[in-house]
Amino acid sequence: MESLKDDTKGQWIALSGLVISLILIGLAALANQAMLAGYHSSNAALEFPKENIRELNLHTKDNARIIRDLSLSINQTSNETVPVIFENLFDSYSDQVKKLHAVHGETVNVSLVSINSTNGTYNHDIDMILVNIRYNDGNTYYASEPEMIEVRE
């Protein structure tokens, strides 16, 4: 083996080492810039509770239709009128949805405004209901007052 100190050959190896290290530094700088770009835009897309609000609306609409069908069928065997049954059922839906969202740290309030029937037979059937939907997750406040829901298919 030759002496480590006196052997001055191998300039090309040393030089190529330098070149490779420079390339690596350049790549690291580029990768860091790519990390920096697009943080806020993607974060905004993630943080805005678009799906939650949409889901709340859809659930309320679906449930209003189901509750209408239910109250019509309960009315067959009950003394209470359709609107009264509807109101009771809707109140319990409102209660449940409030609790479900509270688990995720969101305040939700769904309340019934009015029950409408176009042909006047108000006690026997329901066409449209109006509800207030409120949603708040601390950062985003949403209120639809009133949201009109067509319950007759």
Partner: protein, 147 residues
Amino acid sequence: MKNLFKDEKGASLLFEYILVTLICIGFFMTVTLNSNEIFIKTPNEAVMQDEMSDVGNMMSTMITDMYLVLPPNGNIDTGYRIPEKVGRENYVINANIAYTNQIIEVISASSGKNVRVTIGGIARTMPINGTASSSSTQHVISYDSTR
């Protein structure tokens, strides 16, 4: 060819030293004079371009998202957070020209740099206006169907 690296004729040692020294001095002078430009301004510019278009895209994303869930009657407010400074400068988000140009501007007042982001024609169906300064503590986008 074989002697290319061993051939030391053509320049005396002294002359070679002088040449190399002069070149070094010239190089270092250029670097020193332009160091602010090279090491501070250029990276700052790149960072600002990136961050400002990022913030602009964020506004565009939020407005589009809000537009998708707007209630027919009612209102919606959403707060958002943006960095107080990009690079080393404060900036202003300006949406007042959205109605005519369909763009949102992010402007830095001190350097005059501005980045424009499109909002995909939403402003044509719904007026968008307002400005937000990066140094204020709270930022809100709000919509009200009754206005």
